[in-house]
Structures are given as structure tokens and as C-alpha cells.
Symmetry: C2
Subunit: 338 residues, 2 copies
């Protein structure tokens, strides 16, 4: 028998979904991008779904239920934005064990409501059920876009510029901080958590935001990226997804990868390499996208979009140019500094 | 703190989803029917989602993985048919612990593929992730219908006829059989399971079918039911949903509730009341619907549709007329014979 770890998540999904038929002309695009794409005669419809499992995706020791509800919604909306579409509806299914009270599940829904209000999405359905142990949240988000505006992972072409919004690695450092405090607490429950001045990093992990504003900026500036993905697995891994699906290579510059000051300082204190955290951290929910180089001036003045490199021929591979001028291969696990 | 059991599933959902806003004109109908309804400029879009949890919805001791994959899809399709719509796409998310191998999850997907082929639906996405323990499957189904054809739970009116497809209670008896064999096996693993001649009941539980054929029959016969729901909680409970949402009463006849011979015999052997099993068993995934009495002749000759009663004024309550001519209140837990 084959352990699932031998295939990995993406290998498993490829294996499982290979050979499924396509019956309907309403199915425009299935498995393989941030969202699926449908058409029912009007606008294109985008559908994305995620399953968050206690003990795997979140730890109840340090995850406030309200933030959990918020995050479960936001990570799905992020997948719709990553298609250059606007989410309008969500369904939320929750399985929870008897240790959870009505008050607890109400707190989760408070967070869901908060996300619905912040991103203007309608809760349209779901399922609420028991579990033997632990909490599972499954969210499906539904969005809409004009056909011409939808952006896949597969459209990047040689010469395009590679851009990323916001900054990277902070969510990962936030998680490391929370894990450290958990270890300390488990050793000695009298020690007060020391999370002062770490609000930014912790918020990036516990209560991420999706970049609706960037999608609105594209619309205002008449930009349609050539390819796009949200940074959930980490910059390296997600950029490799774009390259693979677009059949291109890439060259990014270490010096241009956006890092926050808080992330940089905390990484140093933890004896971690900041650029590795940015490349491999994941869960930042920033948008990674490629644009035609004619659009360079349109993004140049945006304070929160950084051009980090360019799309090259597939034969040139996928590389990171360090500040010292050395070229390293990008790997899905992120580039190892040493 | 309030235990969730004090509210029940429907009470909990009402409490949690009350006060959520509706921002979009594309949201036609949210929580409260078999599916949500959306519009993106073309046909109406129906969305339904279900979460199946190991130990709650299925027992790995007697549930073949292939059947589980099949059933997870079918129960969602059933919700789309119950809107008089045709499902065309599904997403499937699975969380599974390390005890599951690639071969195991492939078997689940074989069942999913089988359902996709049987019902002509496209798998368009999902999520595959680990869990600490146990298996969770979340399926979202998406279907389409012309606006005029969509059937809600809320449209039944006085004088309408109450109809049900197929027969009821068999899935419940199938489950009782499997539970009995499990108990016997746990007491003595040398005893061979005695499930001879029980294929029908066991299949009704492990591998239910959704009534696509009935929806096609409606289309051919130009019938648009006034209200419809699929029988997942049990005839009583689901009929009460229709009555509550339609603000009507109902009177059904014990003599007309369709029971299979296999179910009847097995109930007697188990010392259970067959009609109680039919009223409260659940998981039959038959369609319960009301039609204008002018459509009576259209359904009269259908071999697998039974008229079981009629819609009455709300003041007359929700009742079952026994074969002996006594009137009993229908309750959500089903009518207790003694």
C-alpha cells in the first residue's frame, strides 16, 4: 500500500482527478487553477473551496474562534480574487464535536459575518453537523467576472514582469511565534505569553486579508494580468505553479522580494533567513501575478505592488538572483540559503 | 454555556445565520431550502453542499470506500434535483488521516467517478488535506434551471396533492441490519455476517440513488410541482419543512405511504413498526412534492410515484390518518405508533 505522503498533495490530486469526464458546456475550467470556472449564459462563474481541519490547519490553543471563521472565508475569497474575479457568495459547512457549545460556534459565525461584511459576500448555505472529535470548516466561494477579464495561472509569457502585492513571510513568522508561546505554555503554564509588539506578525497568521483592493486597482487601471495566483503555499511554490502551467521560466531578484521590517527582525531573532521565510513561508494570501511589460508604468507607482523579476524562456529555468549576484534554482520547498 | 443539542441542527442554523446581510442581486435565495439559488445573467444557478464525517455519517467498519464516494456525491445531487434543477458540476474536498493510503483514497474517487458518470456531472475542483483522525468528505453540487421551473419548499397550497417517489424506510432498515452485524462481529469475529437476501435494504443505505428520472418525468409531462424536498430526514420531518415554509397543513394516509416488501418484512422481524420506519427513517433520497390537483392525471399512471395525501389549511394541522381511521399528529421525530 502506498502512503499518501509519497505522492504529496498535488500529485495525489492529479492522480485522483485524471480521467474524470467533462459532460457540460457550462464547465469552462475544472481542477488546476485557483478556482473552477462555469458559465450559465451570463457572466463567468468562479467556484473555489477549502477544507480547514483542527490540528492540521489551525490549533485551538491559540486560534480565537472568531478569527478562525474570518480566515476560513478570506482564504477562499483570495482564490476568487486570484482569478481576477469578485466573490459574491459563500457556503459554510462546519462539523464540530460535543466539546463545542452554541457560544463557541456562534463566535465562529461572528468571524464569518465580519468577513461577509468586510468583503461584501452573501452567506447562502451550508451544513452543520457533529464530529467525533475536532472541528472542520469547509467554505465554498462563488464569484463572477467578464470572460475577457479572467486570469489563469497559464497565461504568463516571456518578457512579462513578475509582481507581488504586499509583503511576504510575515504569516509564517506569526505562526512560529504562536508555536513558541504554545511550547513555553505547555512547559510552564504560569509564564505569561510574550507577544508584545508582535501584533503585525500574529495578525498576518491568524487574520489574513485577501487583496480585493488589488483587483479593484486592476479594474481602475485597465490592467489584466497575464497570469495570477494567490500566495498560499509560498512564493517559490506558487511561482513554480505559474511557470509550469504557462510553460515558461522565471528569474526573480532577491533584492526586490518585499519583506516587512517586523518579519525581517523577527526572522533574525529566530535565527532564520528572512528571504527563505518569504520564499517558502506561505499563507500570506498576497497576489502573485505577471503583467505585459507595457503595463509596467501602470503598476510602478502603486505603493503596495513590487516588480520582483521577469518571465523568461522555459529553457532558462526558474531562478533567484541573490543580492550577491549568484543564481539559485527555485524549488517548491523554497530556496535554501546555505 | 449552551450545549448544541439543546438547539438541534435546524435551530442552530437559524440562530447562526440570522442577521447575515445580502449584498448582491445575484443572490436569489440563500439558506433555507435544499439548495441556494444564484443568477449571473443566464440560467438560475443552484448550489448545495454537504459534509460527511466518519463516525457520524458513516462507519468505516461496514462502509466500502467506493460506495462512500458515490453516496457523498448522490446526496448532494439529490438536493439540486429537489429544486427541479439539473446538477452539472461538483467540487469534492476530502480530509483524511495517515491511516488512509493512496489506494484507499483512490477507491473513494472511483465511487465519485462512478456517480459523475451515472448522473453526468463534472468534477471541477476541491481540496485534499490531512486530518488528525478520521475521514471527512465535503461535496458542493452546482445545478441549473430556468427561473420558472425552480421549485421551493414554500409553494404548496391548499388542495394540492402530496406525492412521494419510490418507497420509504428501506435505507433505515439497511442501516439497522449493518449495525446488528457490526455488534455481532464485535462480540465474536468468527461469526460470518448474515446478510443474505438483504441486498436491497443494504444498498438503499450504502449506495442510494437520487431521483433524476423523476425530474426528467416532470419535464416531459410539463409538471412543475408547487413545492418539493428530498427525503433525507424522514417523511414526517421533511413534510413538516414543506408545511412550515408554505404556511399550510397536511393530511396524509397511512395506507398510501409506499413501503417495499423487503422493508416491511425486515421491520416486522426487528419488531419495528413499518410505518414508523417509513415516516422517520430518513436517508431514502426520494422526492416528496406537492402538485396542483389539476396535474393528478399526469402522475396517476407513473408506477413509482404515489399520492399520499393532500395539503390542507394550516388551521387543520399536520396529520396522519391511520388505516384504522384515527388521526395522529405528525411530529418531526415521526409518528409513534404506540
Amino acid at each position: 500500500m502506498t502512503p499518501i505522503s509519497s505522492l504529496g498533495e498535488f500529485g495525489l490530486i492529479s492522480k485522483l482527478t485524471a480521467g474524470f469526464p467533462k459532460f457540460h458546456s457550462s464547465t469552462i475550467k475544472g481542477v488546476g487553477d485557483d478556482s473552477a470556472e462555469l458559465n450559465a449564459g451570463g457572466k463567468q462563474i468562479l467556484v473555489s473551496t477549502d477544507l480547514l481541519v483542527e490540528g492540521i490547519h489551525f490549533d485551538m490553543m491559540y486560534t480565537p474562534l472568531k478569527h478562525l471563521g474570518y480566515k476560513a472565508v478570506v482564504v477562499n475569497l483570495s482564490d476568487i480574487y486570484a482569478m481576477n474575479a469578485i466573490p459574491e457568495q459563500i457556503t459554510v459547512s462546519i462539523a464540530l464535536s460535543s466539546k463545542y457549545t452554541v457560544e463557541a460556534v456562534s463566535e465562529i459565525y461572528e468571524g464569518i459575518l465580519h468577513a461577509c461584511n468586510a468583503y461584501k459576500v452573501d452567506l447562502i448555505g451550508g451544513d452543520t453537523t457533529s464530529s467525533i472529535n475536532g472541528l472542520v470548516i469547509s467554505v465554498t466561494a462563488i464569484g463572477y467576472a467578464e470572460k475577457e477579464k479572467i486570469v489563469y495561472r497559464s497565461g504568463a509569457k516571456e518578457g512579462d514582469l513578475i509582481c507581488v502585492s504586499g509583503n511576504l513571510g510575515a504569516a509564517y513568522l506569526g505562526l512560529q511565534l504562536l508555536e513558541r508561546e504554545k511550547r513555553i505554555f505547555l512547559e510552564n503554564s504560569d509564564v505569561e505569553p510574550d507577544l508584545e509588539d508582535e501584533d503585525f506578525l500574529i495578525r498576518r497568521h491568524l487574520k489574513p486579508e485577501a487583496r480585493k483592493d488589488v483587483i479593484q486597482f486592476f479594474d481602475e487601471m485597465n490592467i489584466v494580468p497575464t497570469a495570477m495566483i494567490d500566495v498560499s503555499d509560498g512564493l517559490s511554490s506558487d511561482l513554480i505553479h505559474i511557470c509550469t502551467q504557462s510553460k515558461v521560466g522565471c528569474e526573480i531578484q532577491e533584492a526586490y522580494v518585499p519583506l516587512s521590517e517586523e518579519m525581517y527582525q523577527r526572522a533574525i531573532k529566530f535565527n532564520l533567513d528572512p528571504i527563505t521565510c518569504a520564499l517558502s513561508g506561505g499563507e500570506d494570501y498576497e497576489l502573485l501575478f505577471t503583467i505585459d511589460n507595457e503595463d509596467e508604468t501602470k503598476v510602478a507607482d502603486h505603493p503596495d505592488i513590487q516588480i520582483i523579476g521577469q518571465v523568461v524562456n522555459i529553457s532558462e529555468g526558474k531562478t533567484l538572483m541573490t543580492k550577491g549576484g549568484n543564481k539559485h534554482q527555485l524549488t517548491a520547498q523554497g530556496w535554501k540559503h546555505f
